[in-house]
Subunit: 358 residues, 2 copies
């Protein structure tokens, strides 16, 4: 190999509701010579694992959308958090063999320029490529899951907004608790605030088992059990970790305790369909509630709360105190399905695309 | 005068939409002997001024409502923040002639028991009767307005949630900016963060003038000017001080800057009609927004932020830096109208019931 096949997932069109592989993304292939392709001061990366996240749906819209992160560009490869290994480098910051984490194109091989030189592609400014100390006994994919953005989201969101409040709290409610952020939050809350009663919801028996294993005390299937009834029985809720918004947030608002806290880390009800609105805005005043939207690594508070993550989370994973549940898709060709299926509740734990084993 | 006529405003029925005097409240009179009426360890107060506040509508509902403050009791007098003077006292904490502020019945004369002995009436536990240093050149009514709960709401809410953020902010939007909380927020923001561009909305030309006088840079009538257009032109909004919720909050959410802050101090769109819901919950995540519901004196953060209020606000009023705008109703007989009219946008500044001059 210097000449290799490079599969790419191209972003093709803005979906109006749910995205479909082959319609909103296209898989294409070309070839490149890994020895001779010009790097222009950048690095050539072989992709190992890519992440499929719900928030990617927000990036699938017109660039006029006002967000803290960039939209995808039609005709260009999809990109998202990924892990790769450096094959060649013209940058003093990277050496062949380095494992790196950052915004990586949905390609088998990609060239990443140093952040400063990369002004044309704002996606790559969002989180520049960082070297990671890949633990030899852990798979690369864990660095886009439990030890990557979802784990960081849970860890820094909890520390930034909920940890202090949890000391004087009795109850925590986590919706979509079987996802990669949800299970981390449940497990980390269990460790840092063992006195909490943790209530958690998801949409299948398999998912309830995952949440219970993570440390939840009360688990329920929101499709078959009325959320309001469960929260009324086990509440009031001091901390609500919300991945859903919409009706679930409304029911939570009705069942929040005074001075309750809501940390918002997802809007599952609104990514594909416009069901994320709420009625109970009055509860914020009548019960002195606070609510924070959080995105990992954005804003001083969230950046500071990330300190210590790598060391602490790696230790907890190696000790088995935080489990890494993954649903794996293999190869760039399957990446469109990985992006779509996560919105259909078909996946369990972290949804990853394993592109190469090493 | 030992035998006096005691007018009372009785809470009669829960309104389903807007309240009506004579329907949901009844005015009645009886007589009492101020020299001989038994106090049972309490104090006899002559009411000087009472407050009409929008949030009182929340108290006009079934006692099962989950709130940080108590509902009104049918068949008993309405109560709310008021100022009175002590006529007789059987408590060592009060002396005849003391001016007091606290939860006071809508009566010409009322007996208030010491907080500890008053367990049957939770309303009076909410804020127990406090002696105030009434300034000789200021009217008693100012202590239910600029120097009372509305001023405290603005002052402590601003200090607790917005002051720090205002240092790195460019824009503040205040809805219902001509009310007693709104004008205080505008004036106090002007003083503590002079660099801010302050945008403010209300529903009449007279109110726009009040907001401009308080220090707003951009004022508009939301009934005749499109809020979205104004916010798009003068935004994005770093801090939104919300008295309205509903459509206005939705439009503000669309126009918030990343890491924007919303302080909620009212739900005007929801007190009488169910119009306070919002659609744009996704903005909390996509723009890392925070929102806090605030009630004066409830919660450690708000209690701490009240420190220094009396001294600082009195000075600002005496210096003319914060204006006291009042709409006055006279006597308990008019109190039902004072409670109703505030919801119809008929009043300007603080709505007060002046019960006696001294």
């Amino acid at each position: 190999m210097p000449v290799v096949t490079n599969g790419q997932l191209i972003y093709a069109a803005h979906p109006s509701t749910f995205m479909e592989p082959g319609v909103h993304t296209h898989y294409v292939e070309d070839q490149l010579d890994t020895d001779t392709i010009p790097l222009n001061g950048g690095v050539l990366i072989k992709t190992l694992a890519l992440s499929s996240d719900l928030y990617m749906r927000l990036r699938m819209q017109d660039s006029s959308a006002k967000m803290s992160f960039p939209t995808l560009t039609r005709g260009k490869p999809v990109d998202n958090f990924g892990v790769g290994v450096v094959l060649r480098s013209e940058s003093p910051a990277y050496t062949a063999g380095d494992f790196v984490h950052g915004y990586i194109n949905f390609e088998d091989y990609s060239i990443v320029h140093p952040p400063a030189a990369d002004a044309e592609n704002s996606a790559h400014d969002f989180q520049s490529l960082k070297k990671i100390h890949k633990h030899p006994s852990l798979p690369a994919s864990i660095y886009v899951g439990t030890l990557g953005m979802p784990g960081q989201t849970a860890y820094s969101g909890w520390k930034a907004f909920a940890l202090e409040k949890s000391k004087s709290s009795k109850t925590l409610f986590v919706s979509s608790g079987a996802g990669s952020v949800g299970t981390f939050v449940i497990a980390y809350a269990r460790l840092t605030a063992p006195h909490l009663k943790i209530i958690s919801s998801a949409g299948s028996a398999e998912k309830l088992e995952v949440m219970r294993e993570a440390g939840a005390d009360v688990v329920f299937n929101y499709k078959t059990t009325d959320t309001a009834t469960v929260l009324a029985e086990h509440g009031p809720i001091d901390i609500y970790w919300d991945h859903v918004a919409g009706e679930t947030l409304d029911v939570a608002l009705e069942n929040m305790a005074s001075f309750g806290l809501i940390v918002r880390a997802g809007t599952n009800s609104g990514y594909n369909e416009n069901k994320s609105g709420i009625k109970n805005t009055g509860a914020f005043i009548s019960k002195s509630l606070s609510m924070h939207g959080s995105i990992v690594g954005l804003g001083d508070v969230m950046i500071k709360a990330l300190e210590g993550f790598e060391e602490e989370a790696t230790k907890l994973v190696l000790e088995g105190k935080i489990k890494n549940n993954e649903t794996r898709y293999h190869g760039i060709k399957q990446a469109g399905h990985a992006l779509a299926d996560i919105h259909l509740g078909k996946t369990l734990g972290k949804t990853v695309i394993v592109v190469a084993e090493s």
